[in-house]
């Protein structure tokens, strides 16, 4: 049997003060970092427009900025992304643009970009770096000596070529295509051009939508926290639910702190990652709690601290294995899945570690602390059973609901 951990007897509750201290420090640090660094909200939340284009030649950022300015567009970000050799340009127009502009922002952006790249215009010709397959097909059907099927096939081939190279550098790139004849090529040269860039993605989000999404994100996170509290309160004990949710709040704040520190951009998928994190982290807590409850039933509640220690040790290999495996997956997403999923994976890379840690060092110690507090308050009635089944609150609730 291959085992990473064998019969561990770590005194988790014994050194809980150190770890809770570290957690308190991390939470405090996050709460300091958050207002200072702020959260880099994407246009989905602020409203605004963004465009990502692939240029045929290295873009001149200064010219682009100047062109945007003369078009009256207030950009707050003009940058290249990824490998500089890829000539990928990213422009973001902030919320002011969305609030004040009534014009079609994304179209205005591409216009300005055309101006910046010194493109004199297509003069009625079709830009193959911007036209979709349907338009190209229409264009080709205008050629007298081509069958409809051939025009369709050729249009599809041109689209496929564009999909592969992202931006066509000249019409010559199309000469080798199937069904392409010198005559069709001649016709294309007279009717089409290749523009200096191709749009990889463009978005516009109106200011009202942004505000709505931000509100909805807040309510979704709050809603799922309350959901967790209700479910764990129902399945275990209200106190345990509170402990689990405090651990979740800890996870969310610390991960948010890292997110802010690294200046990653908040987007819809990132909110999704936070919600996933809440579910995943509760998972971990539930496994530990389940074991604590089972051990309480079997061994009585003489020493809660010892029972929690035992339970965590018993589930430790599982915790490390599953968190480790999920972490592997998330790492694969982080390193391999490309730019669009990167901030999403970032949250989970941090969050899974923090979440597993918090089940052990936040949720469980809170149970012990809470019990100690109750014991002290009750004084004489020392050692009242903390088992969920026998606790007075639980009974009281049953009576109420009966």
């Amino acid at each position: 049997m291959l085992e990473i951990l064998k019969d561990t007897k770590i005194d988790f509750m014994g050194n809980r003060r150190i770890w809770m201290g570290i957690s308190a420090f991390l939470v405090a640090a996050s709460l300091i970092v958050l207002p200072i660094r702020g959260i880099n909200l994407g246009i989905e939340f602020t409203g605004g427009a963004e465009v990502q284009v692939k240029c045929a030649d290295p873009p001149d950022l200064g010219k682009v900025r100047a062109a945007l300015k003369s078009a009256g567009l207030s950009s707050n970000l003009v940058t290249t992304i990824g490998d500089p050799k890829e000539n990928e340009l990213y422009i973001r127009l902030g919320s002011e643009a969305a609030e004040t502009k009534e014009q079609d922002l994304t179209s205005a952006l591409t216009q300005a970009l055309r101006a910046a790249t010194g493109w004199t215009g297509a003069e009625g010709r079709i830009d193959l770096n911007a036209a979709d397959a349907a338009t190209v097909e229409q264009l080709l059907e205008g050629f007298p000596d081509i069958t409809r099927a051939d025009a369709q096939a050729l249009a599809a081939a041109i689209s496929e070529e564009r999909r592969k190279v992202a931006v066509l550098r000249s019409l010559d790139a199309l000469t080798g295509l199937d069904k392409m004849t010198p005559q069709v090529m001649e016709y294309l040269r007279s009717r089409a051009v290749v523009g200096p860039f191709a749009i990889r993605s463009q978005s516009y989000i109106g200011p009202t939508v942004g505000r709505e999404l931000l509100q909805k994100a807040f309510w979704a996170v709050l809603g799922s926290l309350v959901g967790m509290l209700a479910y764990i309160g129902f399945r275990f004990h209200f106190r345990w639910g509170v402990a689990a949710v405090l651990a979740l709040v800890h996870d969310t704040i610390v991960t948010l702190g890292f997110f802010s520190l690294f200046g990653r951009e908040m987007s819809l998928p990132v909110v999704a990652a936070f919600l996933t994190l809440i579910g995943y982290s509760t998972n971990d807590t539930v496994v530990v709690f389940d074991r604590i409850r089972e051990n309480l039933r079997m061994r009585g509640a003489a020493d809660l601290s010892a029972i929690i220690n035992l339970s965590i040790n018993q589930t430790l290999s599982r915790t490390i294995l599953t968190s480790g495996l999920t972490w592997l997956v998330v790492l694969a997403l982080f390193f391999l899945a490309g730019e669009p999923l990167n901030p999403f994976s970032f949250v989970l890379v941090i969050g899974i570690v923090v979440g597993s840690y918090s089940s052990i060092y936040i949720a469980s110690p809170i149970l012990v602390l809470w019990q100690q507090f109750l014991d002290r308050r009750k004084g004489a009635r020392k050692g009242s059973p903390p088992s969920p089944k026998a606790s007075p609150e639980k009974k009281a609730r049953k009576v109420r609901t009966a």
Binding site: R162, G206, M228, P269, A272, V286, L321, L336, A337, L341
Partner: protein, 534 residues
């Protein structure tokens, strides 16, 4: 093999078969989101208040006209609030007649007599919401037919939002949505209006208004008449720029867009494109009367929404027109085609604004799919490799369960017609990462039971039964957060929530049921099992 085990195996095979049926071949059964296949996603807000305003304006002007036609004098018809009309300064002696005319004219509105010859008419809430609802519906059908005419394949046009006043439009394969946006947003409300000529004009056919509002007002002695409004016409100037003429036109339109029966691009004698149209019979009759009154004079064709009305052209009425006409006015082929398209598909009765727009080009989608698949495969292989090394035979069991999980997930997505998005790919592989948790929980429990000296069979049974409740708890908590994710998300994020939810439910089946059956098959051949490879 016991009878119940045989049934269980059959169930698993049937589920697998059904899943494969719904998922294979993948390219056909699972549709890709716009973020992966490329295309435009647009959300429009229907400004329903502008539909109300349009209705109010129309009632206001036509009520005034009706009073005049009925020989009842009045000082003004005003609208102080969005749904309130006030008629002021009527002759108190003819109160009953005025009241009756207003009542008849506005129908179900609440009319009250304010005394001193003033009346108030309020549009009731039902009519208001009916107009709003109708505005959204008409906009929806209009946009749908305009999109169809643009020739986009497999477009989606549907209502969205809690208020039901948003329209979601998905245009797969459209990379440059500029033209689509223009065509969809244009209200294309066509109106014909008679020109109000200033006093002293004799040459009606060649008269053109001045190029500033003030100059026009001056022609009327400072203020334009009450029944007249100014509308701009952009005219190209000789130096290549444009200037604006301000036409004084009657507020009450002779015909409006809904009166059109058909419109298409036509051609003038010298080949310039124009737009030919025909009217409905009823409108034809009205048009005939109006053109008879205006022979030799100009009538303006006004196009636009509630706010952005513009004069397209102001032709001279040469003869009585009954039910067909031609619009000329500096069109090229494309713009004539577009205008005909918009007129054909009907007017959008209200202003629409784009509140969200996302376009993904095909090359980005292609990169996303490739990277997403590579990352998923890497993650999946890492998990499989680890499980096989760590749990050996039982690892094989887990790998079978996980693979089946993915198959069921894809099958369910195919069945429900769910869309695979980029976050959805992440959800897919993340599900595998979470599903393996159930296997690990069970296997670790079995190991514990074995360590306590139990026999293999009872260790396996105990392992499954003890881990079961924990697994249920875990799944419910994760499903709870996935549920909130689903209600929160739109588009790609919702795709992520869907894969997560289906995957989690499937993993309950595979990790608990399928895994147990595989153990039963291996351990259940009547012989004593001494050891378990775990």
């Amino acid at each position: 093999m016991s009878k119940s085990l045989a049934w269980k195996i059959t169930l698993i095979l049937v589920v697998t078969g059904i899943s494969v049926f719904f998922a294979y071949p993948l390219q056909e059964k699972i549709s890709l989101g716009l973020d992966l296949r490329g295309g435009s996603h647009i959300v429009m807000q229907v400004e329903t208040s502008s539909a109300i305003k349009y209705e109010m304006d129309l009632t206001q002007s036509r009520l005034g006209q009706a009073l005049k036609d009925g020989g009842l004098s009045y000082a003004a018809v005003t609208s102080s609030q969005p749904t309130v009309l006030e008629v002021k300064g009527t002759d108190p002696a003819r109160r009953a007649d005025v009241r009756k005319l207003i009542d008849d004219y506005v129908g179900q509105w609440q009319v009250s007599d304010l005394g001193a010859g003033s009346f108030r008419a309020v549009m009731p809430l039902e009519i208001r919401s009916a107009i709003e609802k109708n505005a959204v519906e008409t906009t929806l059908t209009t946009i749908r037919s305009r999109i169809d005419e643009l020739g986009v394949r497999e477009p989606i046009v549907q209502k969205q939002g809690t208020q039901g006043d948003r329209i979601l439009i998905q245009l797969p394969g459209v990379e440059d949505p500029t033209r689509a946006k223009q065509v969809m947003q244009d209200p294309a409300l066509l109106e014909w209006k008679a020109v109000t000529y200033p006093a002293g004009v004799t040459d009606f056919g060649s008269w053109r208004p001045p190029d500033s509002k003030e100059a026009v007002a001056a022609l009327f002695g400072g203020t334009v008449p009450d029944d007249t409004e100014l509308y701009p016409e952009r005219v190209p100037s000789q130096d290549g720029g444009t200037f604006t003429l301000w036409w004084p036109l009657k507020k009450v339109s002779t015909i409006v867009g809904n009166d059109l029966r058909s419109a298409r691009r036509g051609q003038q004698t010298f080949g310039e494109p124009s737009v030919d149209f025909t009217l409905t019979r009823d409108a034809g009759r009205r048009f005939e009367a109006a053109t008879r009154e205006n022979v030799g004079r100009k009538m303006a064709i006004v196009l636009g929404g509630v706010q952005n009305k513009q004069v397209v052209s102001a032709p001279v009425i040469r003869s009585v027109i009954r039910d067909s006409g031609v619009i000329e006015g500096g069109f090229d082929v494309q713009s004539a085609e577009d205008l005909a398209l918009k007129l054909r598909s009907g007017a959008i009765p209200t202003d629409v604004t784009i509140i969200e727009e996302r376009t993904v080009g095909p090359s980005l989608g292609r990169d996303s799919i490739r990277n997403g698949v590579i990352a998923s495969l890497a993650g999946f292989l890492a998990i499989m490799g680890f499980m096989l090394v760590y749990y050996r035979f039982s690892g094989v069991n887990a790998v079978v369960a996980l693979a089946l999980n993915v198959v069921i997930l894809l099958g369910a997505m195919g069945y429900f017609g769910a869309t695979l998005t980029l976050p959805g790919i992440a959800g897919l592989i993340l599900t595998v990462g979470m599903a393996v948790d159930s296997n690990v929980l069970i296997f670790e429990r079995i190991r514990e039971e074995l360590r306590l000296g139990k026999t293999v069979r009872s260790a396996v049974d105990q392992g499954f039964s003890r881990a079961f409740l924990t697994i249920v708890d875990c799944h419910i908590t994760t499903l709870t957060s996935a549920f909130f994710l689903f209600t929160y998300g739109t588009g790609p994020v919702r795709g992520f929530a869907v894969t997560l939810i289906i995957g989690l439910i499937a993993s309950m089946f595979t990790a608990v049921f399928v895994s147990k059956v595989i153990f039963d098959i291996v351990l259940g051949r009547g012989r004593r099992v001494e050891s378990l490879s775990i």
